[in-house]
Symmetry: none
Subunit: 199 residues, 4 copies
DNA sequence: TATGAATGAGTCTTCATTCAT
DNA sequence: AATGAATGAAGACTCATTCAT
């Protein structure tokens, strides 16, 4: 039969499909891919196991659709920023803004992060997703920077380093919360430091 | 019946135990926890499946022992550095040294990293291991820094930021290799930047 | 609730019913009963899955109707022969004729044959069909033979043996094609041999 | 893990393996391949479902081993005949002998026959088995015939026709038993007819 | 101690059939 | 009459763990 995955046309069916994605992706992120079974996904989505396989090729497919749907939100919230607001003279503010958006917009738990990250290398689809997004973000920023007069050697590498620092900071704040750390201070340090990168 | 795990005293038995840990941890790191089965572990270790359960409570236990045995080497290679070599006036060199050790000493594959990281949150033991090590490393470095006259506000936060940058850089070099990035330049950027953190 | 199968009276409905039979029987013959699913049948027939169950009791029913409709053509093509053409003095020619018709009229694939044959014994309906047809054919031929002066002991047994030989020969030619066999010669051998049966 | 099928070495294990083959093949022959499930096979064999998959790749593999083990007995009982007993002057006797052996040695039911035959064309392994055996038998007989002075044109085709007739006769006697047929007479007819083939 | 055979619960997936629209 | 979404039982197969030897 080969290609029997149905894209539902009726409104209710579409909603059902979405529910499966949501349930599946959430469960997988919460409990891990291998600790989530299809029965559980179906039950959580409020559907029968059978219908799952009419909308998705297999369990992995559900996860992939979830990644497609929620990945940006979780992993690249900064892509949502209006990058035109970037000005050289208000760089610090913009940075602080980006960081706040990142921190406030994270939707899924710590576990989601790790779980999905762990699949990057065992699976080409996930790897591709991340590779592309990462590059997209870096390049987009480089463009913006150039347009705004941030002109320096090795701009691309600097942007990459910057993004890494922001990532680390935000993960730290969102997920790890070491109680002997002063995260306000850390944020200031990071911002100052990034600024110095482009001077 | 509860606690039947035997700690072997005889040399041969100890060797067997080690072999199981090595085989299990390596396989799990290579192929993932759920893609590695006990039969495979036993076979690779050159023992029978039965014996595995005389030395270990369950499959997870094998992994845990492996983490105990090899974790530092893989995840915290910098702990191996002779921290006494840290001098304020040769800081740049020391940094470069640390980075090189990190990069050269990564023993396991890309997958190992992600795989194990993903287990941090599904299991308290693993989580504890990482939390403690991370803190240990940060604090050790803070001490060293203090002894060497790096005296600044928010030292602990700065060290944390620094470690994050090194981590990112090294992972980037070891694992990702975007072909439009100049990693030598990036290394220089990171080193310069870290230096500026402590000025 | 028992008997809800509707026999359609309207022309369009009848055509739909026929399409389902055709699609179902063809697919089953091509791919096997268990390798053909109702969704596929419906799709091939150009109808919805639901409607299938308004015309047929179950999947098996579709197959049965197909057998009824196409069975003779596939399994007993010789019944189509104008048996009045049977003459004792042109017996050889008639035989050759029968054989040619048999060979040329096989409509379905090799697989169809085997697939359906295998169902003969798992189901009484199919078994009955074959049993009756076989006997019908033998008896019809016996009658013809008698009318044409083929008068010998054990005529029924001889006709049966003859039909068996023709069957073997034709299957051999149609399906097996051993490349070290000369099928023209074999045909001659069979014809001569059959002739000798009735002398 | 790829190749994990274990060939058992211990006597009890070997017996168990055989039991699975016997149970599986018998059930499949009785009820059909798709109507036999692994649980049933295991239960009939008196083992757990798990062990089945340590000895066999899959359900099909069980069937194949059964075919290997019992195929000759069921489909080519004549291969057991001491072919040296073939003499030209006692040909009729030898034929009758072969037929009797064939008829008396059939081990499995009518269903077995059809079921397995139906798999010939849907599966290369089964097809190969039959093709090879058929050719082997034909060629073996041709040799014997030549050694015994049966020297005629198209010997191979004649032997094939002969084997076909014997097959038909025996199946008829064993399985079909039309009650208006005199099988003793039919046997005589076939024997006489075959004899005439080689004159 | 050690082996490797054995267990059986658990998993993904399919598909004939029914149901809401 | 017709659609196609939905159901859920059933089946093949896996694997951590235990047991007989």
């Amino acid at each position: 039969m080969e290609e029997n995955i149905r894209m539902p046309r009726q409104k209710r069916a579409i909603e059902k499909r979405e529910k499966i994605i949501d349930a599946g992706f959430t469960l997988i992120c919460q409990n891990g891919y291998y600790n989530t079974n299809t029965a559980e996904i179906a039950k959580t989505a409020g559907v029968s196991t059978g219908i799952v396989y009419q909308y998705f090729k297999d369990k992995y497919d559900i996860f992939l659709e979830g990644l497609e749907k929620y990945g940006d939100e979780i992993f690249f919230p900064m892509l949502k920023i209006d990058l035109n607001s970037f000005k050289k003279d208000t760089f610090e503010n913009t940075l602080r803004n980006m960081i706040n958006i990142y921190i406030n917009d994270h939707k899924l738990s710590k576990t989601a992060h790790e779980e999905i990250t762990s699949m990057i290398h065992s699976n080409k689809d996930v790897a591709d997703y991340f590779y592309k997004r990462e590059m997209l973000m870096t390049e987009t920023l480089v463009d913006i920077f150039l347009k705004n007069g941030f002109n320096s050697n090795h701009l691309i590498e600097k942007v990459h380093v910057m993004l890494g620092m922001i990532d680390n900071l935000c993960h730290e704040v969102i997920y790890h919360q070491h109680d002997n750390m002063d995260y306000n201070a850390m944020t200031d340090i990071v911002i100052t430091n990034i600024t110095s990168l482009f001077e």
